[in-house]
């Protein structure tokens, strides 16, 4: 496998996860692309190389790459392999925002179940946000 990949990408498959393996792979690569851990144009491992690496079937890694291609996050060039797509920065930002909204929605759901008010939740967010700023 390309050594550049080894430093920048981490894929961990869990048999205990309810998600199918192809989804676990796609999610982790998607995350790495959206966070900017994988640069534009960076080569991804070959479908068969990744199958060997993760000890899964070729159909599984192939499906993961297909999902990512559908999302426009990677491109595959026949005979050359797959690469992180050169993306439109605005689109990328939009996708990251969308991911953030999903996570926040989850947090809001949890807060509602616990009976927290909007103000209480906002206070927690403010506290955490400012804490991060001080530490970061």
């Amino acid at each position: 496998m390309d050594t550049r990949m080894d430093r920048t990408m981490r894929i961990v498959i869990s048999n205990a996860s309810p998600d199918p393996i192809y989804k676990q792979i796609a999610d982790q690569i998607r995350d790495a692309v959206l966070r900017g851990q994988l640069e534009e144009g960076a080569p991804l491992p070959s479908i068969r190389g990744l199958a060997k690496e993760l000890q899964v079937s070729v159909i599984t890694t192939n499906r993961a790459y297909e999902e990512l291609e559908k999302d426009g996050l990677i491109t595959s060039v026949p005979g050359k392999g797959s690469f992180v797509a050169v993306h439109n920065q605005e689109l990328l930002r939009e996708k990251r925002l969308h991911l953030l909204e999903e996570k926040l929605t989850e947090a809001i759901e949890d807060a509602r179940q616990m009976g927290l008010t909007k103000e209480e939740l906002m206070n927690i967010i403010t506290l955490l946000y400012e804490g991060e700023e001080q530490h970061g």
């Binding site: 199918p20 393996i21 190389g49 079937s57 070729v58």
Partner: protein
């Protein structure tokens, strides 16, 4: 699609055993695991593909060619790994090679030497004295040295320890890296080897149960567990197989999502392994 193997309505009758109307296909460049309990017909099926026994009905094509009419041509392109080594045991690895190599037009001596080294095989060692795992490696070295495009293995891991199985898995992953080679193996125990399988063909009692992409199989079935009070209201009808005890039941189902919605916390739902699927399907409903 480019098929490495097409088995169509194949039948074989023996006294007390019938392989009936088995059909499945395998695309070039992919790996298929043939699973089923002992006596299901896996070895018979592999022998039929290799034309070591004559079929009673149906057709078998390898690389698009009838496996009886084009037997020699096909066998040049197949690497067959037997469960027990079919060679003369008193010969050395090197002598055995000299006996086999002339049968193959595409024999490549350099490739053979390279694999001996890679697999840790000593050319001077007698076949008899090779461990079971080393005999499998020798057969694979032979297959790779005549540029076999299709590797067929009958029970390649039976009696082998987990360390060798893991080594074999790595070797098979290396073999499929070129996108051209196709692999079919049979096994009656589900081991780590199916990790590499793209497709699973399940046969039981001479019948095809299913031939599906492994991911679809694992996605379709789940194991559900619960208390006995849940039974008796038609729940059992949604099980493929069930094991009922005094403290509760465990069952295989292909309807897990709906069951989770209807029964919620009353049912425990877990991913099914290939072993679960094989056991529940073969044994059906049983009490312990």
């Amino acid at each position: 699609m480019d098929k490495a193997l097409r088995v169509m309505n194949v039948s074989k009758h023996y006294p007390g055993f019938n392989l009936s109307n088995v059909s499945f296909e395998l695309e070039r460049g992919y790996v298929m695991g043939l699973i089923g309990p002992n006596g299901a017909g896996k070895s018979t099926l592999i022998k039929l593909i290799m034309n070591l026994v004559k079929r009673d009905g149906g057709t078998i094509e390898v690389f698009g060619l009838d496996n009886q009419e084009h037997e020699l041509e096909i066998k040049e392109r197949i690497g067959f790994v037997y469960d027990t080594i079919p060679y003369y045991g008193m010969l050395t690895v090197s002598e055995m090679k000299s006996l086999i190599a002339p049968f193959y037009q595409k024999w490549n001596e350099n490739v053979f030497r390279r694999y001996l080294k890679e697999f840790g095989l000593n050319p001077g060692q007698k076949i008899d004295t090779l461990s079971r795992g080393m005999q499998t490696k020798f057969q694979l070295a032979v297959a790779l040295s005549h540029e076999a495009e299709f590797i067929i293995m009958d029970e390649p891991t039976s009696g082998l320890d987990p360390v060798f199985r893991s080594e074999l898995l790595d070797i098979l992953y290396d073999i499929i890296q070129d996108e051209e080679k196709t692999i079919l193996f049979s096994t009656h125990i589900t081991t780590d080897l199916e990790k590499i399988a793209d497709y699973i063909t399940f046969i039981n009692d001479g019948q095809l149960v299913f031939c599906m992409p492994k991911d679809e199989v694992l996605d379709r079935y789940a194991v559900v567990k619960g208390g006995l009070e849940l039974l008796g209201s038609g729940l059992e009808r949604r099980f493929v197989g069930m094991r009922r005890g005094h403290t509760g039941f465990a069952a295989l189902t292909d309807d897990a999502e709906a069951l989770m919605r209807e029964y919620g916390q009353k049912l425990v739902v877990e991913k099914a392994s290939l072993e679960d699927i094989m056991v529940y399907m073969v044994r059906g409903e049983r009490s312990v």
